[in-house]
Symmetry: C2
Subunit: 462 residues, 2 copies
């Protein structure tokens, strides 16, 4: 396979520059949830557009949306008979708090051992740049055997609120045979894997207001209802002590795992002990006879993501708070829908919130759960590419996380997504000290080069 070999040689020669390019993108603090980072969001989009232009992409555009821009662009050098890939990525990152737990500046990438530490290093700037550098390596040598259309957004970490409208408006520019999405990880540094299923997400914020202002808890305590206490009572009632979500209808459409699927999962090297150690958790919860892996990948769940009420500073303040807020989210599995969860939650809140408080429910983000075919051309091409680089066949895994765009592109553009990223399970995604294991950044470039060629080869008429 001469095309891939020449490109791989080019990638090896340009290793140091590729790392510098990755660091340049990481240094831009493109936090999508903070309005004060709008300028950095634009800088990150501009950085990507400039790279794409330098690879010979045409119609490169930083297209505005209601919130953060999408980078578009096309490479059609493979010709009309070659397949077209929709290259999806996101250039935005999560916030960095709690900042005091970071060992180095989250936006000044620091190499410690084989790991590059920075916010966005793994999620997903290294994956995005690995795909881009695979493209660069091919166009600078024997050329790309596939056509590519880009869809690189800046809102993934806030649930892609503008993407649905954007995709609908730009459907014609997004038609492709397959969507390639690097927003994922492999099982271990030496264990290549392919994600074939993702959980969905329904993320809410509940705000309760009791008394008109904060009150003295001595003067008013007992006489007046406390919204913080009520908030805790509501949260406690949404999820039982065994972890079962108590929202009406929540489990109605959950696909049960077959005994064969449970056996396949049990064979993976992620025991309950592994999960406990990864998390640094004192002990694991129990939910019937489920394993931690089943709960993380194949079962829906409910998590509180944030709590805020009253006095949270040093010492004590005897306040009966006026307001109490919880952010919480459910992860969904096929065939649950966000709409069902929202309806169940609304019914629950209407039935359970006492008249002593007023309330507001905000829906922040949502994603459909997704599953892709395991015997498709895409999965076969990816398998071959990973096996060639890691010298072992990949294992098939699922992901507990959600990638809203996967379900969205399937529904709106009719295109399946292959997840092909090179992060690791312990990369501290969304947490302090996020990192990318650098050897897999380089291997990822090579694997993506090989994937493009394998996919083109499998697509040729036989």
């Amino acid at each position: 396979m001469p095309a891939a070999d020449a490109a791989i040689a080019y990638a090896h020669e340009n290793k140091d520059r590729f790392l510098e390019d990755l660091k340049s993108l990481i240094r831009i603090p493109s936090i999508s949830t903070l309005s004060e980072r709008k300028g950095d969001i634009r800088r990150a989009a501009g950085w990507i557009a400039e790279q794409l232009r330098s690879y010979g992409f045409h119609d490169v555009e930083i297209a505005p949306t209601a919130k953060h821009p999408v980078v578009l662009g096309e490479h059609t050098g493979a010709g009309p008979s070659a397949p077209t890939l929709l290259f999806y990525g996101h250039y935005d990152v999560q916030p960095v708090d709690p900042i005091d737990l970071w060992k180095s500046d989250p936006f000044e990438p620091e190499l410690r051992g084989d790991n590059l530490y920075a916010r966005g290093a793994s999620d997903m700037k290294a994956q995005l740049v690995a795909h881009m550098k695979a493209i660069e390596s091919l166009v600078r040598t024997n050329g790309l055997a596939v056509n590519i259309r880009c869809l690189i957004e800046g809102e993934e970490e806030i649930g892609s609120p503008s993407l649905e409208a954007f995709v609908l408006q730009n459907k014609s520019r997004l038609q492709a045979d397959l969507c390639l999405n690097g927003d994922s990880s492999i099982l271990g540094p030496e264990e290549p894997s392919i994600n074939f299923a993702l959980r969905g997400l329904a993320y809410f914020e509940l705000r309760l207001t009791g008394p008109a202002t904060d009150l003295h808890s001595g003067s008013f305590g007992g006489a007046i209802a406390n919204p913080a206490t009520i908030l805790c009572q509501l949260i406690a009632k949404m999820r039982d002590l065994e972890g079962r979500v108590q929202l009406p209808g929540f489990y109605d459409h959950v696909r049960k795992l077959s005994p064969a699927e449970r056996k396949e999962l049990a064979a993976l090297p992620m025991s309950d002990t592994w999960w406990r150690e990864q998390a640094g958790s004192p002990a694991l919860p129990t939910e019937g006879d489920t394993t931690a892996l089943e709960r993380a990948w194949c079962l829906p769940t409910f998590d509180v993501n944030g709590l805020l009420s009253g006095f949270t500073g040093e010492g004590s303040k005897t306040v009966l708070p006026s307001k109490a807020m919880a952010k919480f989210s459910t992860r969904l599995v096929p065939d649950q829908t966000v709409d069902q969860v929202r309806k169940g939650l609304e019914a629950f809140l209407k039935a359970n919130i006492p008249p002593t408080v007023t309330w507001e429910l905000i829906e922040h983000a949502s994603a459909r759960p997704a599953i892709v075919e395991r015997d498709s051309k895409a999965v076969r091409a990816a398998s071959r590419a990973l096996e060639a680089v890691w010298s072992r066949p990949p294992v098939f895994v699922r992901s507990g996380g959600s990638v809203a765009v996967v379900g969205m592109i399937q529904e709106l553009v009719g295109v399946d997504t292959l997840m092909l990223g090179y992060g690791l399970q312990d990369d501290n995604l969304h947490a302090p000290n996020e990192k990318q294991y650098l050897p897999n950044f380089y291997r990822g470039i090579e694997a993506t080069i090989r994937f493009f060629d394998e996919y083109a080869a499998l697509s040729r008429p036989t």
Copy 2:
């Protein structure tokens, strides 16, 4: 009663200066819970010491404690046959957050209508200065008929952590016939009242830690226990939906209200509607057949004072938090003890906290509940003084709040406390836009002048 009349005339003449003096003290942001306010705490203590010296107090001292200093001083001009009052007060104030809800600078007193708005205006700088100005008015005219010993602390708003040791070490300097404590309020602007009972307080902070760091809720949600969810479950279990506290033994020593007491309470002009309107609450909770007034004054209760976990900023962050914190407190009534509540809480936590989290319990503040005799000289003198100023007899009320020093002084020095302050129920204590109704600051000075003389008169051998 010529002594009182001359002093009252003096107080009238010096009204404007008295207000300016009150404002000077209010401008010192003496927030005891914030370590960065240590200098302001000292300035407030110094301001009081200087005033006392100017009234002819001797042995005035800003006495250090483990945390914030106590102002001591004596006025013995009434001679050995006259009674001695222990003049208790506190010069510290609560924090000001949420600062954005204040309509004016909390430490620049602003007069709007008849009210002076500022942090500490009612709790308790106006009450402290009213007592001091009563003393000034008497010493500058016909003299004080009682001897006075001062005990003015700077830690009341954080539960007086150093006071117990200080009182024990200085018992001989604190001997008195009665303690006078202005840290209280009356029923309404035209409704004088005397507090004869206070609730106690046991204030805790519970910190849970689950995973070692914040985790991605997609990667780990379901597999790993969520400390924020567990915190809500624990809080919810500590207090049922009816408001009954579920800690073991919590109600064992609660004095039941007699039908006569309930009738007396029902006759007071504080209906459930009044409570709801005071609080600006959409509706009142129910707890059996109790009234809001009974729940606020005579029943123990449980309130969440603060909640913090995970991501609390704008938008969404899909985090499974490492830590979750709640501040909560119980108000106690006779004959509950803080020790009992602590033991019940510890037993509850040991029995209910799952092994999936580690935990730490901090005790921030505590106060014994207290009741004083209604037919004592102190209460009779106060009744006469209030009736003379307001032209109507006071009603007898209780307070839902806690004044730790009352129980402490009873226990350690053997002296009963008369609460004699002139704040109002709607003064926004511990909340934004705290205020003092100024006409009652002036009436308070007059009432205190009369009280000193009435108490001296009732103490003379007949």
